[in-house]
Amino acid sequence: MRHARCRIRRGVTDPRGGFVLVFVVFVLFAISVAGLTGYLLVSSEHELARYSGQGAEALTVARGGLERFAAEQLGVVPDTVSYALGRGIATVTTRKLYTVDPVTDMYYLRSEGTVDDIRTPDAPARRVVGGYAVRRRRPVRLHAAVLITADDIDVTDPGEILGRDQQVSLGCSTGGPPHLTGAIARLGVTEDDPSAVRGNPDYELWPGGWSGIVDSVGVRWDVITDPEFPVDYENTLPDFGALPPDSFPVIRYTGWVSAGFSGRGVLIVDGVFDPTTSFNWDGIVLAGQIDDMVEGFVDGILIAGLEGPNPYASIDFRADVNYHSCYVHAANESLSYLELLPNTVFELN
């Protein structure tokens, strides 16, 4: 005990005891400051790089949103649409700016891409792009009540094709042309009853190749039959009673479609269209191929053989197809689409 007290006393009085300690503490402090400064430098650089990357990501999201909207848009142009793309959100807003003619409008599309960072939730990376698009309001060009890229259409009882407008005062003031050609085939249109095919003229023959005929229709067949392309209903019919009466949805069926149903709108058959006697449709029917026997009833128009030369060269036509300008007009509007003008997309901020 005595010995310990003696050591303490001696340490307190030793004049060299604190020098190394003070020096080492000072050096450690200097090292810490240098290290901290280095860390701050590197971390701020890292942060800058991160923000820069998020800005680039937001730009990509904005551009992606703009392209996606223009590519997928079908029918009525909405004011605002949002997409979750990658780690960001693209908000696309539209504005109609000019009416070129009754079937063509010019639109401005604005897409704002934002990428959130959980560390700075109030200040997401944000980039905006704009671009201009043409809206084709009624893209299907109306040539005939029935247009089939087969060699012959043979209209047999009870079949009837009327290219004269059948609409009777439905308040449809913006309908299409009053009279169409009755039927169009490649090489021949025959009829059992001389009044079975009526129109202006009754029929036409388009002997040209399949692609020429399809191009003249104006349908983006490869786009609207792409399984990734969104349509209102896929392989199913809506409850038409629950829809507003002026709603003409786009419905797509795939494969061999033995159609015995009723409905309205645009019916797209990506496969073989085989309508039965109970088929009843108001609007537009677009089919990749058509069976050699056609039955049913259409108030509108029927265009078939869009996929390629129809596998059946001669069609036994027993259906009743009457051109109805109001239904066709409304269904055609459902197929309206936007075409982004090349060389017009620009960055706003």
């Binding site: 060299r16 080492v24 090292i31 280095g38 109609k96 017009t344 706003l348």
Partner: protein
């Protein structure tokens, strides 16, 4: 004896600590230089990429290894009403307030048939029109002006401004014209700098400490990269490759320079 041991041990500790400090200090200095080099490279890349990326078709005007002139849109507007020959009522997102009018080097008209732009240089003062009612005129032509009346503006272009007068429905671009040049730095003599010059303005040095290996290269559609593109082939450039490099002398003698660099390919995505 006790004193000797204490002195030796304390000397060792002091030496170790000093050595650690010096190593840390050197590391810190090098790190700082590296950061500066990275800053220079990143700044130069961002500066060039932003304008190259936004350039529309025919947007590259000069393409050399050390010089690049780009025409890029400040805004693309749509003519929604034409009031006589000189007055075009246009839609411009955000209106005049959204325009950096100092940067505007001219206007270009898009040929609706070919999609090509016909550009004419002119300052904003020569393009800006009266403060009439462009929104009202555009509304008569079907424009939805609800809530954005301020985004409509009038441009006044003389009858001979373009070879063909823009019509309603045409697009008119307000563009900037920027020249990037890599040459001797004014801020850091002995190294190169990246200079940016807006149309009609003297060049301003934006990045310093640039290495001599920094240069521009160009990809022509269907071909490889080359340092220089002839005037006739400028329109077919679809990507600009920037080899950005920075160099800083070492903090102490005898060590190698601190360098940093990367190669960035900037596709001209709006050229479609």
């Amino acid at each position: 004896m006790e004193t000797l041991i204490a002195l030796t041990l304390s000397s060792l500790v002091v030496l170790l600590a000093a050595h650690t400090f010096l190593v840390q200090n050197r590391f810190h200095a090098t790190q700082r230089l590296r950061t500066m080099a990275q800053d220079n490279v990143r700044g130069a890349t961002e500066l060039v990429a932003r304008e190259v990326r936004t350039a529309l078709a025919d947007g590259i005007l000069v393409a050399g290894p050390r010089t690049l002139t780009v025409r890029s849109p400040v805004a693309v507007t749509l003519v929604c009403s034409r009031q006589g020959v000189p007055n075009l009522d246009v839609y411009n997102d955000g209106g005049e307030a959204a325009l950096d009018t100092e940067e505007i080097a001219g206007a270009a008209r898009r040929d609706p048939g070919t999609g090509a732009w016909e550009a004419v240089n002119a300052p904003w003062t020569a393009l800006d029109g009266s403060t009439a009612d462009p929104a009202g005129n555009c509304a008569e032509n079907g424009a939805d002006t609800t809530g954005v009346a301020g985004s409509f503006h009038r441009l006044a272009l003389s009858g001979s401004f373009f070879s063909t007068n823009p019509r309603s429905g045409d697009l008119v671009m307000l563009f900037r014209e920027t020249t990037f040049e890599i040459r001797d730095s004014e801020l850091e003599p002995g190294s190169l700098g990246l200079f940016r010059a807006a149309y009609g303005d003297p060049p301003v040095e934006f990045a310093t400490g640039i290495d001599t290996s920094m240069r521009f290269r160009y990809r022509v559609a269907g071909g490889g990269y080359s340092d220089t593109v002839s005037a006739g082939a400028l329109a077919s450039i679809d990507a600009v490759r920037l080899t950005a490099a920075a160099r800083k002398p070492p903090p102490t003698g005898g060590a190698a320079d601190v360098t940093f660099g990367w190669t960035v390919t900037i596709p001209m995505r709006t050229v479609r």
